[in-house]
Structure formats: C-alpha cells, structure tokens
Symmetry: C2
Subunit: 218 residues, 2 copies
Amino acid sequence: MEKQISKAVISRLPRYYRYLGELLEEGVERISSNELSQRMRVTASQIRQDLNNFGGFGQQGYGYNVKYLYTEIAKILGIDRQHNLIIIGAGNLGQAIANYANFEKRGFVIKGMFDINPRLIGLVVRGIEIRGVDDLERFIVENQISIAALTIPKTKAPEIADRVIKAGVKGIWNFAHVDLNVPDGVVVENVHLSESLMRLSYRVCSMQDKGNEEKRPS
Amino acid sequence: MEKQISKAVISRLPRYYRYLGELLEEGVERISSNELSQRMRVTASQIRQDLNNFGGFGQQGYGYNVKYLYTEIAKILGIDRQHNLIIIGAGNLGQAIANYANFEKRGFVIKGMFDINPRLIGLVVRGIEIRGVDDLERFIVENQISIAALTIPKTKAPEIADRVIKAGVKGIWNFAHVDLNVPDGVVVENVHLSESLMRLSYRVCSMQDKGNEEKRPS
DNA sequence: TAGATTGTTAATCGATTAACAATC
DNA sequence: TAGATTGTTAATCGATTAACAATC
C-alpha cells in the first residue's frame, strides 16, 4: 500500500515544474532548495518535504540538478506520456483551449472537438474538426481518449459526463458550474471561473475595508 | 484588529453560494447544516464553523433561512456591489470571459477590452469595444476600474500588471502563466489552466497505476 | 578533509471534526 | 414544553516549519 500523497503537495508540483523550466531556459544547471525557495517565495523546508514524497532527487552538498528534477517532476505528473483529449463545447472557451499550443508540448493531444450547435459542426479550429455529439462514444473508443474538457453549460454537463465516462474517459476537466458525480477510477478537475472571480472580489473588498479602518480615527 | 479569515474558508464560500442559489430556485425556504452537508458532501461541522467566522446566520432548532443566508454570503463576497472590470487580451479566452453573461448578474460589469493586435482593435464583442493599450491608464481612471483580467501571454503580463496597478486597479485576475509581484493593497487571483491540467494528468495517471497494482499478483 | 546541503525526524501551527451546552 | 439545531469549545488530524544528523 503506497502512501497517499496529499492534495496540497500535488497542487504545488506544476509550479515547481514551471520554475524549473524557467531555470533551464536561463541555463542554470543546479539549484539548492534555499535558492529555489527565495525565487518561489516558499520555505526551503517545504520544497524538500514535497520532493521527498516521491524520492530523493537531490544530493547533499550539491543541491538539485535542474534538468534531472525537471524531467522527474514531468514523470510524476504524467506529462511525459501522451494524453488524448477531446473538448466538448466549441464556444469561445473551448476554442481558447484548443488554441493553447503549450498543452501539446506537455503531451496533451487534442483529438477532437464536439458541439451541438449545427452552425459550428464541420468547422475546423487549429486543424481540429468540430463534430456533433452523436459521434461521441465511437470517437472516444477509436481514438483512445482519456481526458474530456467540458466547456458546456451546467445543464448539459452531468449527462455528457456520464456518456464520456461510459465510453472510457478517465479524467474530466470540468469548466461547467456544477459538481459532477463520477464513479471510482474517474477523476474530475474543476475550473470554476465564477468562483475564482468571487474569491477575487472578496479579497479586493476586504482590502478596501482594511484600508478604511486604518484611516478611520479610532 | 479583526480576526483574519483563512484562505480555505474564503475559497469555500462561492460554493456555498452556488448551492444556496440552487436551493432558492428549487423553492426551499430553510435548510439545516446537516441537510446542506449531505448535498454538498462536506461535514455539517465545517459549514457551521465556516459561517460563524462571519456571524450567526442561523437559528437553533430551525436551521438557516436560504434566502437570507444567500444574500449575506453575497455581501461577504462583495458581489452585492458593482465591480467595474476590463479584459486585457481579446483573444479566445478574453472573449470567452466577455461573453459569459453570468458575471454581470454578480455585479461584475465589463467596461472595456484591450489588445495590441491592430486587427482586433475596433471590433465589438457583446457591446464592448476592443481598444488599443495606449488608452489603458486614462480608461481605468475615467471608468473607475477596480479589476483587470489578464488574458495575455506571460511575457507581457508583468508590465501590463504594473501599468494597471499604477492607474488604480486593485485586483488582477491573472490567466498568464507567471507569478505577478504586486504592492500592498493589490490582490492577484491566479487561474493557471496548464497547472490545472497537469494536476488532472497526475490524478488520471495515479488512478491507472493504482488499478494496475490491484490487478498485479502480489 | 571541511563546507554545503540534503533527507528526515521532531515541533509547531492551523484546519477539520466531534461534542455538547445554549437556545429557538 | 420537548425536539431540533445552532454556535462554540475541545479534540483530532494533517500540513508546514524548524532542526539536525547523514552524506556528498
């Protein structure tokens, strides 16, 4: 039985990966947890703890080899392998994702886009044809799709999620404002933009309130 | 000195708000922390603890009035007030945000869009004109913009962030894959889509690994 | 070897859950 | 009043930070 890695650790890994990529571009060969901690504004202790969940990637007295750590984190995240994905919902958000070239660099290959709007079906976005959803199940099986991005209204999301899961999809990247219930073995990653904006609103407002309090004579 | 509310609590508030909105639509008048906890799949204890950070919104023996709690959370999140915002970067992602009607319901009014691409400048998206970035500072002041959404490449984001902050913006909704350094009194909410997708990748892969382990004879 | 820095254990801090008295 | 359910304190759990022996 492997030790369960905490969600907090996982969510920090992509950020480590991003910083290591930048260091690589700068031509930096090795880095200590202390130097990295200053760049990233986290504690060196946290960096070492996080990495040691997955193994000892460093060397005493030396630090971490940037290139090596970079590729190791890629392996941990599974972005060294290919993930075939589809985008369901070919509106602006779906097209924005389709157009984001960086994903392909990380092994995410967009195999198809789907929509119910007949005016979109048949269009080609960045070499990817937009299809009707009737085709969904067959396409998933034939193209070994493992991830589906759902950029559709919340009313349609649960039904479409069920369909893609039955056809074999293992991960759902959910942009719809609804919580999806999925069976064991399937994971959902939510991107709830409106909730993100509300959090920003809270913080902007509480900043203002704090400012006013300090100004107000007490 | 007010007690600092933890980030974890804040990040759960929009979800409470969403569920309360749904209950309201269903015509539910009151709900106990226990019933709500079952719907939301969290503990009743957490709901009560979270809410009591901001005040006692419930009543012993009765529960919570849905309508009342809904409006109170809106006040806490600051979505009862108007926030003027601009979108910088009028590509697919910027347009997706501009087209998302729900934001306006929550008090977020998109006053303008900006881009550097001359072919986009002058176009109108959902009644909002796309302007060149030369105009930025004047527009922010004249329209009392408090929030700027940055849907631009990471190379441009730091410079644009500095400019909008100098002009008076208090919150940055950052979609660029870079960490922004901002002065006191300004907040950044990051939406790093590529990091979100990597987290999904990790979880999909670790599911597969787990499945294989269980199948493998030990 | 001496200095540097990791890997890892121990201490602290914070967040979640449980329990229950207060009260509607 | 009796039952229900909150608000809140106490207990538990987990995550972060500090410290330091191991080791390159």
